[in-house]
């Protein structure tokens, strides 16, 4: 799967640009790092790449199709190849387990076996029956990451996935992402650089003030 951004700019308020004239290509499986300080446009870029946000200007080309100029059905088809995971996890009322089933209910394409493996890897069984509002920040993040990663897709855009995780979970996640990036495109934004992450990256995109540095 190939995603190309051409001259993409985005503004939320019509005055300041969160992204300016960004060109970028995601070509096939691999780990893509998006790094930069706070407010540099990482989240905006990830949302645009994963078709969660329509850029104010510029084109997003997915496998040769201008994604935002397609029919509703074509767009839905394209969209189903992407998963985006929020920096601040969105969990619905109910248990972590209920939130995990939401992945399947909302997307219709969930890899149950992979979900079970992720739960084992992160030792998350004990979280399953907890209410979402009783989870700690790190546990909530874990729950939402497992939900996102177990949905079948071609491109995973993970916004600050290491935030709030403890060090053992950071290294577990790292291993999972490395494995996943063998077959899928995995975009990871972070303002914190791990040695292991930089080494495994296929491409590193540095953002400063909305521009690629």
């Amino acid at each position: 799967m190939e995603v190309v951004l051409e001259g993409v700019s985005h503004t939320y308020n019509g005055r300041e640009y969160a992204l300016e004239e960004v060109g970028l290509s995601i070509d096939g499986p691999g780990l893509y790092l998006v790094v930069g300080p706070n407010g540099s446009g990482k989240t905006t870029l990830l949302k645009i790449v994963s078709l969660n946000l329509r850029p104010s200007r510029g084109r997003v080309i997915v496998d040769g199709l201008d994604a935002w100029n397609t029919s509703k059905r074509e767009f839905a088809e394209l969209k189903s190849k992407f998963v985006y995971s929020h920096d601040k996890p969105i969990l619905l009322r109910g248990t972590c387990r209920y939130n995990l089933t939401m992945g399947g209910r909302l997307s219709g394409r969930v890899d149950e076996d992979f979900m079970k493996r992720l739960i084992e890897i992160f030792e998350a069984e004990k979280l399953l029956e907890r209410k979402s509002r009783e989870l700690s920040a790190g546990q909530a993040k874990l729950c939402s990451l497992i939900r996102a990663l177990s949905v079948k897709a071609e491109v995973y855009a993970l916004d600050e996935p290491f935030n709030s995780l403890d060090s053992s979970n950071v290294s577990r996640l790292l291993a999972v992402l490395r494995e996943l990036s063998n077959t899928k495109a995995v975009l990871v934004s972070t303002h914190f650089l791990y040695e292991g992450l930089l080494n495994s990256a296929k491409k590193t995109i540095r953002l400063i003030n909305g521009k690629i540095a």
Binding site: S50, K79, I90, L92, L106, A148
Partner: protein, 215 residues
């Protein structure tokens, strides 16, 4: 005066049914509003809010004009029947039920839609999930509608007529007893009205909380 139990049961089913009708309408209304453009939805929501304060006597008159022998719905033969009160009271309860629901549906729908989009879904099928997210508000919406319906007099008197053994409900019983100077009975009916509203509100609220907590 007919038995207080009869009047109370009649009040309960009439207002319970009326607020159920208005609750379902409010649900449909707030979901379609939540999907509409925000500017449009805000105008409609503001309009609904202004309707909350319309005197029930005005709605009673409106219902009467709809149902009386020269009105558009005259062939239904509903004037001075319990169904006339059900119709009028559902109009009375609708704005307040809808106003309570709309804000909460809009908030929850935007969160659930964002989550659905992030997982690759582009449209539809969120009704059940949103409804589950706002269970306590569903109960509140039904309850405020119910309280307004069971406590209103205008519709019950003008379109229902307060007929003994047929359309006499708690509020018309109070009005009727008062009008013949029987303040003692009027007060006892009033106390029943207050305790019923309080009891039902409490019971349903607890039930709502419990369902919400256990899920």
């Amino acid at each position: 005066m007919e038995s207080l139990l009869d009047i109370t049961l009649r009040s309960l089913w009439i207002s319970g049914l009326a607020s159920l009708v208005s609750f379902i309408a409010a649900l449909a209304l707030s979901f379609s509003l939540a999907r509409a453009r925000e500017s449009v939805a805000n105008v409609v929501a503001g309009f609904l809010e202004s309707l909350v304060g319309v005197p029930t006597t005005v709605i009673g008159l409106l219902t009467y004009m709809l149902l009386y022998p020269r009105g558009p719905l005259a062939p239904l033969n509903l004037l001075y029947t319990p169904w006339a009160i059900v119709i009028g009271e559902s109009l009375v309860a609708l704005p307040v039920s809808a106003v309570v629901l709309y804000r909460s549906v809009r908030r929850s729908l935007s969160v659930v839609s964002e989550l659905a989009a992030s997982l690759g879904l582009t449209s539809g099928g969120l009704f059940g999930i949103v409804a589950r997210e706002i269970i306590p508000d569903l109960f509140t919406s039904y309850l405020v509608g119910f309280s307004r319906a069971i406590g209103e007099l205008g519709v019950a008197l003008i379109a229902g007529g307060g007929i003994q053994g047929y359309t006499n409900v708690l509020t018309t019983a109070i009005a009727l007893e008062t009008s013949i100077g029987n303040y003692e009975d009027a007060i006892s009916v009033g106390l029943v009205l207050i305790s019923i509203t309080a009891l039902i509100t409490l019971a349903l609220k607890t039930m709502g909380e419990r369902i919400w907590r256990s899920s």
